[in-house]
């Protein structure tokens, strides 16, 4: 039997190339969009980070230098980064702890109820951010319901406002949906027969969760953690209103460079710094996540 010349290696390669091309084409619109409206503008910031601030706060595009990057290694900047990092980390962990059972609960309801419950998560966030935060001020103030409850029970008035607890409450409140949504998306189509099979084999609900549910929901956990951690690291309005902005955080440090000091080169360098830190942090997170599965 003679070998037919069809399905030669080149042809299979062609089909694989066609498949690659298809994937590329599906991604192309977003790729093109982000290149034009994100990557190109980003280059501007990168260029600015090597420029000099003029005395009127304009960015002078002459005399390129590394001064802004030199300022980044100041111990003060490191301290600010560190503080913001731990705040964001705590926020993320609390969000995860609260959201997981919550998303699990929603995902295990009937289809109609599930949709209603999910939308009910989002509705509060279609109001205005500032007004929501002010509402929290009322709740956490020395005359607020928490304080009144404490007084009614014969205790001291409690003022959570302007404390780190208030900042955490505000941040968790603001970013909770960012954790709930991906977790829900991951848990919703969980194959419950697997969980049941596992319960069959392990008998113990906790083990079934640890061995089956948790690993399967990992993509959601990772996505949610990133969506919470990253904006929490750059948060500045919530810490200012609820925490009294009593310490400098990365978010307001950068905002101040652009809006108060009008120091675009240093603001740009700081932005590059924070992006590098976040990239590194998430790469490490992904790596460790991949290993644990």
């Amino acid at each position: 039997m003679a070998l037919p010349e069809t399905a030669a290696p080149e042809l299979e390669l062609d089909s694989r190339r066609a498949e690659s091309r298809r994937g590329f084409l599906i991604g192309l619109p977003a790729w093109a969009y982000l290149t034009i409206f994100f990557a190109l503008p980003l280059v501007i910031v990168l260029v600015y980070s090597f420029a000099t601030r003029s005395s009127t706060g304009r960015t002078q595009l002459t005399g390129w230098n590394l001064d802004s990057y030199r300022r980044l290694v100041d111990p003060f900047v490191f301290e600010v980064f560190q503080r913001s990092f731990f705040l964001a980390l705590t926020t993320t962990l609390i969000c995860l702890l609260v959201s997981y059972p919550f998303a699990y609960y929603i995902a295990t309801r009937g289809a109609r109820l599930r949709n209603i419950l999910l939308v009910m998560v989002m509705i509060p966030f279609w109001s205005n951010f500032l007004v929501r935060t002010y509402a929290w001020k009322v709740l956490l103030g020395s005359d607020g319901p928490i304080s009144q409850l404490s007084q009614a029970l014969g205790g001291e008035p409690i003022r959570l406002l302007f404390t780190n607890t208030a900042v955490l409450i505000g941040l968790v409140y603001g970013f909770l949906p960012f954790m709930v949504l991906p977790l829900y998306a991951a848990l919703e189509r969980m194959d419950w027969s697997l969980v049941e099979a596992a319960r069959d084999l392990y008998a113990d609900g906790w083990t079934a969760f640890r061995k089956v549910t948790w690993p399967l929901s990992r993509p959601g956990v990772i996505a949610g953690s990133i969506l919470v951690f990253v904006p929490a690291l750059g948060a500045y309005v919530t810490p200012a209103i609820l925490g009294g902005a009593r310490t400098t955080l990365v978010g307001d440090y950068i905002v101040d460079q652009f809006l108060a000091a009008r120091n675009q080169p240093f603001g740009s360098a700081l932005s590059m710094g924070i992006m590098l830190v976040l990239l590194a942090a998430t790469v490490i997170y992904f790596r460790s996540g991949a290993k644990e599965v």
């Binding site: 601030r53 706060g57 301290e79 103030g141 902005a245 400098t248 101040d256 108060a260 000091a261």
Partner: protein
């Protein structure tokens, strides 16, 4: 790694190109030339702070001149500046004092045609020339206010020093339940500290600034919040005993407190900030003459009074005083005698104020 090198080369090439086409500032001053009441375009793009302009006044102007006023709003001088520098077209803007100086230096403002402003004489003498615009060529004062301290008499007592010590001296502030609120604004807060130490708020001596930073650091234990937005509400709610902030918010929130008589607004004896928002016409304006007409319209005595009665800020319009509510007039009465300074842009030194406050907070 090859890719890295290519990217680096591309970046350097881009920098060279940008250097070549870089600095386009430093052109000629552009002077406007308009007749009284001239309308060169029937649309006026007005860029202002939110809730700062009485809609009825806009309507009256539109009816009188047959102009369509398109209002847009900004939430910081810097966002407005960036927009103008980027070529977004606005016909009339309302920058604060220091920003006027920057915009003049950057050649972003038309030199006004005073001949077209028949009501210019209504403007109080004090407001015609200011350090940021020495001849008043580029701006016309819109509204003004001060930065001082709101005091809760119940928490502080009737007997207190009218000094920045109310927020900076731990000996005093430690007795205040709820602590004090300080502005989260580098120039205002570092300025207040500098004044408390006996320097000008425009002081540019690094060692003085370090003293000020140390002062805030030592006072921090009793500073409940660094806040530029909610200080007057916090004061009225009783969350803080003393609040550092702008006069306009203070008058509104003290007025709406349960017991307004328990609160006073004071200007510390060491000196305080006077701030002035000004109308100015960007060089990119497509309707400089319509903008002149609008400025002149607001310089009218009754119109100026209507604006102040609406937003409760101080009016630089002297002729308007008889038409302004007595309450507001009284509130701003003592500004004339107080020791006030306007914040001036300090060029390269600016970044040190920002840094000073950031470090003071830790």
């Amino acid at each position: 790694m090859n890719g890295m090198r290519r990217a680096a080369i591309a970046l350097m090439a881009l920098m060279l190109v940008l250097t070549a086409c870089g600095d386009d500032s430093g052109g000629e001053v552009q002077a406007a030339d308009c007749n009284v009441g001239e309308i060169d375009r029937t649309t006026l793009n007005f860029y202002n702070w939110s809730d700062y302009m009485d809609p009825d006044l806009i309507e009256a102007f539109e009816t009188e001149y047959g102009v369509d006023v398109v209002e847009s709003f900004y939430e910081s001088n810097e966002a407005m500046l960036s927009q103008l520098q980027s070529g977004v077209v606005y016909d009339l803007v309302v920058p604060s004092d220091y920003m006027i100086k920057i915009m003049i230096d950057e050649n972003l403002l038309f030199q006004l045609d005073k001949d077209a402003l028949v009501n210019y004489g209504n403007l109080a003498e004090d407001f015609r020339t200011q350090p940021y615009d020495p001849n008043g060529d580029f701006s016309v004062a819109y509204q003004y206010g001060t930065t001082g301290l709101g005091v809760n008499l119940e928490a502080v007592g009737e007997d207190f020093v009218e000094s920045w010590a109310l927020i900076f001296d731990p000996e005093i502030t430690q007795h205040f339940a709820g602590g004090v609120s300080v502005l989260d604004d580098p120039r205002e807060t570092m300025g207040a500290a500098l004044e408390y130490l006996g320097y000008s708020l425009n002081d540019t001596d690094m060692s003085h600034l370090e003293e000020a930073t140390q002062l805030i650091q030592d006072a921090k234990a009793h500073i409940a919040t660094f806040d530029s937005d909610q200080y007057s509400e916090n004061l009225a709610l009783g969350e803080v005993a003393v609040a550092h902030g702008y006069s306009g918010n203070m008058i509104v929130d003290i007025g709406s407190a349960d017991n307004p008589e328990n609160f006073v607004y004071i200007l510390p004896e060491e000196g305080a900030t006077l701030w002035i928002d000004n109308m100015a016409i960007p060089t990119t304006s497509a309707a400089p003459c319509t903008a002149h007409a609008f400025i002149d319209f607001l310089l009218d005595a009754e119109n100026g009074a209507q604006l102040t009665n609406w937003n409760y800020y101080g009016s630089p319009n002297e002729a308007a005083t008889p038409f302004i509510e007595q309450e507001v007039v009284d509130f701003y009465a003592d500004t004339a005698d107080a020791n006030l300074e306007v914040i001036e842009d300090q060029g390269d030194y600016e970044i040190n104020y920002t840094d000073g406050l950031a470090r003071a907070k830790g």
